[in-house]
Symmetry: C2
Subunit: 603 residues, 2 copies
């Protein structure tokens, strides 16, 4: 049935996975307080600025350091073997805490059943037995934070979020609050108070720690996953690598087709970023797609199955209560969240309160035994401008606030999912109500799309809303691709979605005045003004596309140092003229002083 045009890659062959560094970039690591705490960064090397006087030496430009989500895949020194998975960088830290134990077998009945079967798909061979908190222990980063413990994960994040600090210090522009902003203690405090989360399942020791909270850099999530109609395991692993290459901070595996369990194993073992899922999707597969047949038991086993694989956060639509359903029946677009519609169907079929709501504390018990974070799903988010900020949406948001309080009682980390489709003048209300009702738990929004009329361009309709809500305080933005509402995204769509959302997140960082955020803008603007074309490409979010666009009309190598491009041509380049103006001004200033400082020669 699939007509996907993506190249099908062989998962057993490294050649199918994208591994080269980004153009002009080099990976490097900053060591923390211990030898096994190595925080990755990417530095973009720049060419020299030619001296106006050609007899004088060119002026060097410092490399620009940027946050790096791409894992070892962009490190040429790393040995990549996706059959073995990534190194377990957090394993020692987890072991040292001495509050977990390796189990003798998987706790999930479903996992054991699957393991007993034969499959005609490649299986991940180097699977480990799961770890779980020892009896009575809570292994969440929030729990440690509230005990006053600074974990290596927190220190790692403090270094990671300090991107640009060195450059600011060099420029003598380090803000006074910068030291405070990025200390491990600040990370701990934000996590302890619930304003930020560190999604880091003890069964995903491959993950490079990162934080989601509005006092840190704005993050983005990329959704991948197959559906019943298209896509394969192989494509999904490469989509994960591809997503993180371009800047995805987390990925969600939203698979709903065949072999969900096996696909996820491949993804998690090879993912340097936290992985989220919506467990109800797989639970529904287990009951053959009949929502009515779902039960707490099936769902509970699915949570444990996924927690023991290493999923870092679960979207759980526990806010869709039976009493909310009447609020949705007169909507223009009803319930547009898959999980929300499944739970609404279940509630109505049984005429009972949602088992996600009634068993919420049971869920917390599972979460804290593996440190899985909640992403409390907005099952009643608006699917159209017409439904934005309506009673159904707001009733659910209030419920999510109540559930946050319960989760925090268990020291379980929580973020809150948000819309959706919202016109510009209603976006801020979403953010403000979320902060108030959900006690400042991080907000994680999908878009929002600021109009419904552009299918094929919903990365843009939503990128506008995402930038705004990020600026207002949303901690993580879930990307939308050009295929939204139309079909499953392919690799190109994933990249377009990621880059669009990196734009939104970075614009939000600038808008919020995040220290250091503007360093890259300043560097690219300087490169642009100095006609350092290669630097301009490499400092961009997508060097390949920038270069390709430039070369479409001016492919000659000498054009890469030319003082113009095909947009204006040589005579009409404002930047070229502006340099002449600057030089002339320096000359005139001298004359001006000599001539008695009259501004006008004739008036």
């Amino acid at each position: 049935m699939s007509t996907q045009s993506n190249k099908v890659i062989n998962i057993k062959d490294r050649s199918g996975i994208t591994t080269e560094p980004l153009a002009g970039s080099e990976k490097f690591y900053i060591k923390g307080s211990r030898d096994d705490l190595l925080v990755p960064f990417r530095q973009i090397h720049l060419t020299d600025t030619p001296n106006a006087n050609p007899e004088l030496a060119a002026i060097p430009n410092e490399p620009v350091v940027v946050y790096d989500t791409s894992g070892l895949y962009t490190d040429p020194k790393a040995s990549i073997d996706i059959e073995k998975g990534l190194p377990l960088i957090r394993q020692t830290w987890i072991d040292e805490r001495d509050d977990t134990e390796q189990l003798a077998e998987f706790s999930s009945a479903y996992t054991r059943e699957q393991d007993a079967q034969d499959f005609d798909i490649p299986l991940f061979d180097h699977r480990r037995l799961p770890r779980k908190a020892k009896a009575g222990k809570n292994v969440s980063q929030m729990h440690y934070a509230r005990q006053g413990i600074i974990t290596p994960e927190m220190e790692y994040i403090a270094i990671r979020e300090s991107m640009g600090r060195e450059a600011l210090a060099q420029r003598g522009e380090l803000p006074e609050n910068m030291e405070h902003y990025i200390t491990a203690e600040f990370v701990r405090k934000e996590v302890a108070e619930g304003r930020a989360i560190i999604p880091a399942n003890i069964n995903h020791p491959e993950t490079e720690p990162m934080i989601i909270g509005r006092n840190f850099l704005v993050k983005i999530n990329a959704n991948i996953g197959n559906s019943a109609t298209t896509s394969s395991i192989e494509e999904e692993v490469e989509k994960m690598v591809w997503s993180t290459r371009w800047g995805g901070d987390t990925i969600m595996d939203l698979s709903t087709g065949k072999h969900i369990h096996q696909t996820r194993e491949w993804i998690i073992r090879n993912s340097p970023v936290p992985v989220g899922t919506v467990p109800i999707y797989q639970a529904l597969e287990k009951v053959n797609g009949v929502a009515e047949d779902l039960s707490w038991e099936v769902f509970r086993d699915t949570l444990i199955e996924q927690a023991e694989q290493g999923v870092d956060y679960f979207t759980i639509h526990a806010g869709v209560r039976l009493a909310h359903i009447p609020l949705t029946v007169n909507r223009t677009t009803g319930i547009v969240s898959r999980g929300g519609s499944i739970m609404a169907a279940w509630c109505l079929a049984h005429h009972e309160e949602s088992f996600l709501y009634t068993h919420f504390e049971d869920i917390c018990e599972i979460m804290k035994a593996y440190d899985v974070s909640f992403s409390l799903g907005d099952g009643l988010r608006p699917g159209s401008q017409a439904d934005a900020n309506d009673e159904a949406q707001l009733a659910e948001l209030k419920t999510l606030g109540e559930l946050t309080t319960i989760a925090w009682k268990h020291d379980v980390q929580v973020m809150i999912e948000g819309p959706g489709h919202v016109p510009m003048h209603k976006i801020k209300e979403n953010m403000d109500l979320q902060l108030e009702w959900c006690h400042e738990a991080p907000f994680y929004t999908l878009g929002p799309l600021v109009t419904d009329i552009a299918p094929g361009y919903d990365h843009i309709t939503s990128g506008i809303g995402a930038a705004m809500i990020g600026w207002f305080g949303t901690a993580m933005l879930c990307y939308v691709t050009p295929k939204e509402h139309l079909g499953l995204p392919n690799k190109d769509d994933v990249k377009t979605g990621i880059i669009t959302y990196k734009i939104a997140a970075h614009a939000a960082d600038l808008g919020k005045g995040h220290p250091g955020a503007q360093i890259r803008d300043d560097a690219i603007s300087k490169a642009r003004f100095e006609f350092r074309w290669e630097d301009q490409f490499n400092l961009g979010l997508d060097p390949d596309t920038a270069r390709e666009y430039h070369d479409e009309t001016l492919p000659q190598p000498k054009a890469k140092v030319a003082h113009f491009c095909s947009m204006c041509g040589p005579k009409f380049c404002s930047m070229k003229i502006s340099h002449d103006v600057k030089a002339a001004f320096a000359e005139k200033s001298q004359e001006f002083k000599e001539g008695g400082s009259k501004i006008y020669r004739q008036v």
Copy 2:
């Protein structure tokens, strides 16, 4: 030198110009108070909503009426002959006012020189002699408005801006201020008070009247034009048709290469939308690209040349004063406006005040004799986040406010150009200062780009800023294409730029609560929820791309009525489940009433 991949079209052959109607759309006209006042609209025909009970008749959906900028090119009944140009729909109106006269020859020396030469390019054969105001007459729409005269242009605009009024009336949702909002008298008042302009040169009677002002629909402009390195006359005419097809409200011809005069003639004679230019570009060509050699005389002749061809608005960088230049020398990106850098170079070379500033009243005299509107250029707009809202930019903006007052003294229409590169938190300040300092003259901004780090994606970085500043009150948004900073846009880039800016403008209309703006969103959302795929495509800004994306994975005809797409597959479509929920709820509601109205069966 050109390696442009665009198909080169034969301008003598209609087949090279895109003329078919948009998918699912039909052009129609609403007649005003006179037979020759026919206002174009596009109606998107919709399929019926299938009845839940298949034995009952399907429910028809009313067509959705949208604003139409595409001229006769999308009217299959029209006879298109680009060698003859468009019909002169405003000629009678202009003649009836009896305040203009046809000249015996072109007033511009340059025009007469060109006419005496032979060219190896196709020339527009059906050129008319120019019209000019009779001695002592002022023929600007602002002048008429201030006399209390409602011109046919104003009535035309009132009807055109009422898009959606019928639909709102049908739904009983016509707002109380709606009548006021769209009357011809309201149009007149807005023009008289300077809050809106109607760019409508008496020598461009082909133009379909439109208005630019913040109390009307937000408009967008597309820049076209060749540069010295690439593109041809033929491509530029098709780019104009192509731009208006997708929604460009005005176009600017920014040509800087060869045959500027002849290219412009082809464009204007065939353009249904107002055409803007930056006359200093052509003036500079006339002095062989040496800014120092520019003079008031060359510039004046260029203004007259272009006014007599029918250019509707002129970008004039009269706000770049000699005293402002020192404010730019320490900027990260200097002067990034072509016109601004040219004038700065001239001022410095001569050490004199700009002749655009000193001759501003002479320029007004020319403008009012043809009804050319000012687009006061922001020659000192920031070219980077680092330079946003700096002293140079704001000093120029203040000057533009002074010039506005002078232009209005002459009853000459004015809009004000704005930036540029501005981070989100500084956008509103731009809008607020512009309104205050420029006395509410319409603002016309380029983006702004909310970050500098995404070359190749600057339609998106700027679309974010454009949506926001449009919402804050900008009247027209100048598009940016993916090629910005990298090269001259091709046809695909032009379309991407236009669609991105239609999104921004429409999002702004929604944000501002423009009556009727949400009708199309509601219709597409209903179509989406009812799985009317064809309607969803056709109601979108770009039906072709939406259909192509959908068909990439599900090309079968039956997929166009399927209750799912490849994104989620059949079992996981939230909208499908939501319909089941709605049906189940109706059933349960009945049980609920019969069962004594207890919400929960068991708690």
